[in-house]
Symmetry: C2
Subunit: 603 residues, 2 copies
């Protein structure tokens, strides 16, 4: 039963037959990679996931990370796994050869991270966050920081974190009050950070915190925030290390993802916590956004992985569980007949199809964002880099949000397939249900992502990003129209695009008038609208590739495989795309209910 | 902080100013009751809830019911609470005076059960199930059964259960295989029952199981199921009691509602389990449906209670938590300003309004079903009784489903208001989130309810029930049209009614052709459509009553109170009713995706 948590075939289909992986391989940076090396990597990570991740998934929930006597106790597999992923070069994978990495395309880094997250969404976070922290030091740190921290993070000996949130500053980072006081080559750091994932755990050799703080006299708001490297133990010349006054004072017991510790840290209780400035003073949030954007894609990826794992578990159950009989013509049931498997009931099929649509579509969304990242970083043409950077910027809040929000519904459908068993601890669905709920909170809530999407990404550079996206979508439409079976769906998507143009023009009109309250009031509804539209495009795109391959001699999969993708596209257009006009209606509605200032009086 | 889990004002508003409580009081059976006695009861149950329910809510989750050495250990408050609710006459409340009850209208029984379920959704189930089991014995049991069990169930000395599910027979009750062999005045029972709520617990004096089993030679399917009273201890003449070979062999550890035990029972391991037939042989499912229908309303009520409690908790948090600043005209934020309370952010307002709409609307739905029950049972005019019976039948699957399904989303919104804190065990939202998930599974899943709604209730007697419902809705529309402010919403609801007529005619057309597979394939989507429509009606109805009262000298509440109801109606029409045309589009779509027989091959 080891193979029931993921879908390697669909991963390969998206990578090699849908996504345009070739465009990535054609970049100079990735010249050494090809499909075969990618397949080898996928297989070895699947093997790692079978052995080191999936078997520990349930017990990490049952014996969660917890605070005891000044330490965070985690499952012993945490240390094992981090070491293994370091050994296999997975943490170093995206970095350049000269830095000890594999120079692996981000799209492949994402692909193999996703496999691991399907298997166990707790463990890969430890090394993923370390990779992202190392990337930040690599890009913006000076040689001292790079030499001191970077190599040992890539091996997994030391792990990394991002320290942003404070008790009064969660969604509102401008209110950070942790301080940094200049003192020779470093700063003295003082302050508390809460909700710090992987912030400390017993047995870790060192933890490298990337921390936001304010240098004395800095301007108010986000323009006065600087970024520091703050290790738990500061390396001294000669190889010794001194405790750096980074104290763990508690943890958060979460409803789910209980194997991944969430900590409360206090810096500088003894006034001996040293931090080293990354880059220029007061530019910290700009740097941190590199890590945050990476983390946002990773959040969407994790949610996509959980949705997939839940989908596979409920599909397996539906194929094995007999219950009831199908309704026959005339409305009767023949009780003399044997019970049917529940996969034969239309409502169970609906729930399974929904999960398939959300989990596979979300995977494509995540991989597409990663491909855009590769092209935005390494394309030889600066204009192309700019285009893909815009596309990545536009898709980032959607990639963070769609798999998290719809993934919850998807996993809930998976639980429902199990009936009462799904609600019981003997079955895994309840764990997926609890785990996935954090993803719409992590790294900027859905509300924050929606403000980013509508308030920044849609409007930036006069709509350049949306324009580039339309270009991509139109390319899919042109291919779709060659297939009679797909043509009606292409028309439906065109209609949705027109509706989007209408809505966007209507809403941005308020911004042009300076009426930002009205412009952004229903940003979350816009996110649902736009996210659904993007997902409709991705499904049509998968259906197009499937239709092309079905009639080709070059296909790698069975006709049934391709047919199931076309079917799922049809499902998505029937059950999800139909919501768009209603959402548009809501967005156009001028009723001020969610903006009334006196709502708190009325409640 | 004791008052943050419920909303007594809104309860009173619905009961006394919206629902037409007077019509219930006018029934002969309820001649002794009036508004004042109802208010006294509400106050005393609120007091009970403050003292005996809410304080134990969290600890019942943290130290859940569990199986140990052949017994189920529950929180000590279970026994305390059942005794208290017996003492106060709450279990006996709906029964006639001659039976030791208060002859209380069901609408009031529901109202005070809801208060308790807001406070603690675990405890009231024990006595609620006892009440429903007693009611079944009262209606269909012979004098021997009535005299032996009924009185001690009303005092709470003995509790009751319903034993339906078996390992192979959950949604499919026709597959029940527990057997009953005639033996003198009783039957010998043999079989296993799973997922039995309140099935056994240490310290219970006796537990009276209402159990479905097959008498030898009975016809196959649901027409061969009989109903038995099977006590854990069988009373002997002279007052002694003998163990009746009812064995608890395990329990189910659930994700939520962990204070309410769910057990696995084995009957007749020693061939000494006696059961007494209720009513006629092979008629058991018909009798049991009385209890199931009652339980379905109770499930919706419980979900409505959790949604309300979560709504109140997140509202309180939103009024106390500062974070960020509102977007100003021009799109900027002034970071020099103090942070605002999060209730002032539009997206938080949206989430709070959503919760208000769902939780208050669900309460009205539950109370309305209960009112229909009262009128269907005790109206002097048989035609009226028939009308209300149809209305009750139609609303039952919706009352079971809407609060459960939308309540989940509502509670999830409440959790999101808390941000990361909502996901942590220090805060209560995560418990509500876990607890409410069971309600769409209990007593027939959402899929089963949807088949009941579309396949039976909509079509029965040539659409008589839907026709009666239209009559009720039209009465609201006529009143709404007198208020200029409400007129556009009345028009919108009319449009939705027309759409419903179109959809229903379209779908039932397939039934008339004998094509039941097509007719019922998207029953769950129809449930969402019809449930939303009904909720839109209920909100318009509340807005009408509010508008009438606002300009009246007889109003009991402040203008702000009434204004908030009108506002919430507008919210519901803007954000929820707009989904109807899209759902209709899905229902009209002839794509066969959810019916393909080979879907399991394709997956």
């Amino acid at each position: 039963m080891m193979s029931t948590y993921t879908d390697i075939k669909t991963l390969q289909f998206i990578l090699f037959e849908v996504l345009g992986f070739k465009e990535v391989l054609e970049l100079d940076r990735y010249a050494d990679h090809d499909k075969e090396s990618a397949l080898m990597l996928i297989n070895s990570v699947k093997d790692l996931s079978d052995k080191e991740l999936y078997p520990f998934f349930r017990e990490m929930d049952e014996a969660p990370a917890h605070y005891r006597d000044g330490e965070i106790i985690v499952h012993p597999q945490v240390k094992e796994y981090i070491a293994k992923s370091g050994e296999l070069g997975l943490i170093a994978a995206p970095f350049g050869y000269e830095e000890g990495g594999m120079q692996l395309p981000q799209v492949l880094v994402s692909a193999v991270a996703w496999i691991q997250e399907c298997a166990n969404n707790h463990l890969p976070n430890y090394s993923g966050l370390t990779q992202a922290a190392a990337n930040l030091i690599d890009h913006f740190g000076n040689d001292h920081l790079k030499n001191t921290y970077f190599p040992r993070m890539l091996t997994g000996e030391w792990t990394g974190t991002m320290c942003l949130t404070e008790p009064q500053a969660g969604s509102s980072l401008s209110d950070i009050v942790s301080t940094a006081t200049p003192s020779g080559d470093h700063y003295l750091i003082k302050g508390q950070k809460i909700f710090i994932s992987g912030g400390d755990f017993k047995g870790s050799e060192n933890i490298v915190h990337l921390l936001l703080a304010r240098i004395e006299g800095a301007p108010a708001g986000t323009r006065g925030i600087s970024l520091f490297v703050v290790p738990k133990y500061r390396p001294e010349e000669g190889g010794d290390a001194t405790f750096n006054d980074v104290n763990v004072i508690g943890d958060y017991q979460k409803m789910g993802q209980r194997g991944y510790c969430t900590t409360h840290l206090s810096f500088g209780d003894q006034n001996d916590c040293r931090g080293w400035l990354v880059g220029e003073p007061h530019q910290g949030l700009k740097y941190m956004f590199m890590m945050m954007n990476e983390a946002r894609i990773a959040v969407g990826r994790g949610a996509a992985g959980i949705a997939m794992a839940a989908s596979k578990a409920s599909l397996q159950y539906a194929k094995e569980r007999p219950q009831g009989r199908p309704v026959e013509d005339g409305g009767n049931k023949d009780v003399q007949k044997e019970q049917t498997l529940i996969i034969n009931h239309p409502d169970v099929k609906r729930m399974l199809q929904y999960q398939k649509a959300i989990s596979e579509g979300s995977l494509y969304l995540v991989l597409l964002s990663s491909k855009y990242y590769d092209l935005s970083m390494y394309h030889s043409d600066p204009e192309e880099r700019q285009k893909y950077s815009s596309l990545l910027g536009l898709l980032t809040p959607i990639t963070k949000t769609y798999p998290a929000e719809k993934g919850m519904t998807s996993v809930s459908n998976g639980l429902q397939v199990f009936g009462g068993y799904g609600y019981c601890q003997d079955f895994i669905l309840q764990q997926y249900f609890r785990d996935i709920r954090i993803y719409s909170i992590y790294e900027g809530t859905t509300g924050i992502q929606s403000l980013d999407l509508l308030g920044r990404k849609i409007t930036m550079k006069n709509g350049e990003a949306a324009c580039a996206l339309y270009g991509q979508i139109n390319a899919t439409l042109a291919r779709a129209e060659k297939h009679a079976e797909l043509e009606p769906y292409a028309q439906q998507l065109k209609g949705a695009l027109d509706l989007n143009t209408e809505i966007t023009t209507y809403l941005t009109g308020f911004a042009k008038e300076g009426n930002y309250r009205r412009f952004l009031a229903d940003a979350t509804v816009f996110m649902e609208f736009f996210g659904t539209l993007v997902m409709g495009w991705l499904w049509l795109d998968m259906a197009v590739s499937s239709s092309e391959k079905m009639n080709s001699t070059e296909s790698s999969f069975s006709e049934d495989f391709y047919k199931s993708k076309v079917n799922t596209m049809k499902f998505f257009f029937k059950y999800e795309m139909t919501a768009l006009p209603g959402l548009a209606e809501t967005l156009k509605n001028g009723d001020m209910t969610t903006m009334e200032n006196d709502l708190n009086v009325l409640f």
